[in-house]
């Protein structure tokens, strides 16, 4: 999965403005908060990161070991894998302003 952004990064060299965003959404089953979080995340990404983002959904109920590896406590959590540094957002992403600050998305 991590190969994909690397491939995409190559063309980014010519255009440094273009960034690749890999966002991981950790959920635990289909809870209302998780569903809301995914919807909110998609919405924000479409608006600010259209065409350069990728969302991975990790269900901890299926992969409980990953919770330890990625230091996940709260559900839902969004982890910005790329671009570095790693950033974490917890909650259902209802507060768009905070999401933008948290993901460090520069708004025009």
């Amino acid at each position: 999965m991590k190969n994909k952004p690397v491939e995409k990064k190559k063309p980014a060299k010519s255009a440094p403005v273009e960034e690749v965003w890999i966002l991981r959404l950790y959920v635990a089953g289909q809870t209302p908060k998780s569903i809301a979080a995914l919807a909110n995340l998609k919405c924000i990404c479409e608006e600010y990161l259209a065409g350069k983002y990728q969302i991975e959904i990790i269900d901890l109920l299926k992969n409980p070991l990953l919770a330890k590896g990625d230091q996940i406590l709260a559900i839902p959590t969004v982890v910005r894998q790329l671009p570095p540094p790693v950033k974490k957002l917890i909650g259902d992403l209802a507060n768009t302003q905070r999401v933008l600050v948290g993901l460090d998305i520069k708004t025009a």
């Binding site: 809870t31 809301a36 406590l73 709260a74 959590t77």
Partner: protein, 576 residues
């Protein structure tokens, strides 16, 4: 009945921590969370860790250690400091570990959330080793990592219910707060058992204490119990039961000084009693103690000598000066010295060390020289509490304890700094007697429970022949000791000699007089004998003459044939 019911209602989860299971009557509540709170560095993590380790190793109950603060590397080192190999335990599936890391600066809260992720991690760790115990150290780090306290509190409540439902015995640690037991009032959630650890420093010496604040559905000791963190973990010292029900011995043991035994009703001390030798500096307390030790070693008993003032070698060297050689006994293993500075560690640590030594060495005699040096380490109340426990323990084990107590100049002689006089069975007071510019040592027996002891003062003479007790001079001049006593004795001796001489002289005189008189009597008697002899001869003569006279007269009368007067008869007789 009530007890039976309690046993059914509340099962205990033994911790295996020395002393803890005693004061909590069996351990922590099984299947319930327990809160351990206390300030930084008071031993919360160690207590929790030991609970887990002993559970895993002694009671075959695997445990999960969830650390919110320390990294796995730190934890491995911490476990190693208690003598356990964490990696090995993890490999054997006895311990599982999870490090929960939260950094507020890396987290942005964007709306509603829950801590399901934490639950999943805990569930995974618990299931992976079928854990029965869990430690959350310290869960309140969540409060510093997450801002939404409302959610956190709800989730914590859910967490503890969840742990209870799973029947996991949990230990949660929490830092002490200013107004509440913990900074984030964890005690509100963990209502079953709350243990408070405390870390106090007095006179630069620290003492750790543990108190069970609350234990729902169980009886527990309510006191503050001092505890120690040793190489092997925590050990808590429950104050010994104050029931004075230990069995006593009627056996007597010698004090090592025959004269002193004499003073003690002729037999010495009772075995298992607590003996105090108190006195000002240089009165020979240690000498008495070592004599006692030597006597015990000769009887083949083991002695433990706790020296708080002098080093082992110094004591051995010094005691040679009074003819006591302890070195062979040390070599033979009958005598063990434990020399340490009292301020080396806290009182409780001393107690534990002594405890340990006694358990290991199994002595019959324990010497504490001097017990007064322990006062420097704590308050009188603490010292008394520690000593009470020590003496009780020693008494219960039938160990005879001899303490020396240094009385400082100016303080009352018949009082100990440690207020331990009531714990003492036999009390010997050594004191300086200062007369005529010299100091001498006097010995009294202040008390000796259960025996008719002497009430007399004795003078103590220390020489290379050992300790001698001599009678002091008691006379019109008062109590005299030392050279004054010697002078007085010499004087008396001289007086006695003079008197004897006088008596002899008079006896001789009388004898002589008697002899003279006897001689006189003899002379008189012989004179008398002579007289009576004379008298006898005269009378015999007279008789004869009388006879002859009569014959003559009758012859003459016959011849004259006439009566004559007696005068003429006499004349006529005289003429013939």
């Amino acid at each position: 009945m009530a007890k039976l019911q309690q046993a059914i209602v509340l099962k205990k989860c033994p911790t295996g921590i020395r002393g803890f299971d005693e004061i909590s009557s069996g351990g922590l509540p099984k299947g319930r969370p327990t809160l351990i709170c206390g300030s930084a560095g008071c031993g919360k993590t160690v207590l929790a860790m030991e609970f887990l380790l002993r559970g895993a190793i002694q009671y075959k109950e695997p445990g999960v250690f969830v650390s919110f603060e320390e990294t796995p590397k730190d934890l491995t080192q911490n476990f190693a400091s208690l003598g356990y190999d964490l990696n090995d335990l993890i490999a054997r599936k006895l311990i599982a570990m999870d490090h929960v890391y939260i950094e507020r600066s890396e987290i942005e809260e964007t709306g509603e959330y829950d801590l399901e992720g934490l639950f999943i991690r805990l569930a995974y760790a618990i299931d992976s080793i079928k854990a029965k115990r869990i430690v959350l150290d310290t869960i309140e780090s969540l409060f510093s990592g997450l801002t939404n306290v409302g959610i956190l509190r709800a989730e914590l409540r859910r967490l503890f219910h969840w742990l209870k439902d799973r029947g996991i015995t949990a230990v949660i640690t929490g830092e002490s707060g200013e107004k509440s037991l913990t900074r984030y009032s964890l005690e509100e959630y963990v209502a079953d058992c709350v243990i408070l650890l405390d870390f106090r420093i007095r006179e630069q010496i620290s003492t750790r204490r543990l108190r069970i604040i609350k234990y729902r559905g169980s009886s527990h000791g309510a006191d503050e119990y001092p505890f120690l963190i040793e190489k092997t973990g925590i050990s808590i010292l429950p104050l010994t039961s104050l029931l004075l029900d230990h069995t006593v011995s009627n056996e007597h043991i010698s004090s090592g000084i025959p004269r002193l035994d004499n003073m003690l009703a002729g037999n010495g001390f009772y075995r298992g009693s607590t003996i105090l030798i108190s006195g000002t500096a240089g009165t020979g307390k240690t000498s008495f103690a070592t004599k006692f030790v030597e006597a015990a070693c000769k009887r083949g008993e083991r002695c433990l000598y706790l020296a708080f003032e002098e080093s082992t070698n110094q004591i051995i060297r010094n005691m040679k000066s009074i003819g006591t050689d302890l070195a062979p006994w040390v070599k033979k293993g009958r005598l063990k010295f434990h020399a340490s500075r009292p301020s080396l560690y806290g009182l409780e640590m001393h107690l534990v060390t002594i405890h340990k030594l006694i358990v290991e060495f199994k002595p019959k005699i324990v010497i504490v020289d001097p017990v007064s040096n322990l006062t420097a380490v704590g308050t009188p109340v603490e010292v008394k509490s520690v000593l009470t426990r020590l003496f009780d323990y020693l008494k219960a084990s039938h160990v005879t304890t001899l303490l020396t107590d240094l009385i400082h100049f100016g303080s009352s002689l018949e009082r100990t700094n440690e207020e331990i006089s009531s714990l003492i069975d036999a009390w010997i007071l050594l004191r300086d007697i200062e007369i005529n510019g010299e100091r001498n040592r006097g010995l009294y027996i202040l008390k000796s429970r259960g025996m008719a002891h002497s009430n007399q003062i004795r003078e103590v003479l220390l020489s290379d022949r050992g300790i001698e007790l001599v009678d002091v001079y008691l006379g019109p001049g008062g109590v005299l000791t030392g050279s004054a006593r010697a002078t007085q004795e010499a004087k008396e001796k001289e007086e006695a000699r003079d008197y004897q001489y006088e008596v002899d002289r008079r006896t001789h005189e009388a004898e002589r007089k008697r002899k003279v008189l006897e001689a006189k009597i003899e002379g008189l008697r012989s004179e008398f004998d002579m007289e009576s002899e004379e008298l006898h001869i005269i009378s015999a003569d007279e008789k004869k003459r009388h006879k002859v006279g009569i014959a003559n007269r009758s012859e003459m009368a016959r011849l004259r044939k006439a009566d004559r007067s007696t005068d003429s008869r006499k004349k006529g007789r005289k003429r013939t």
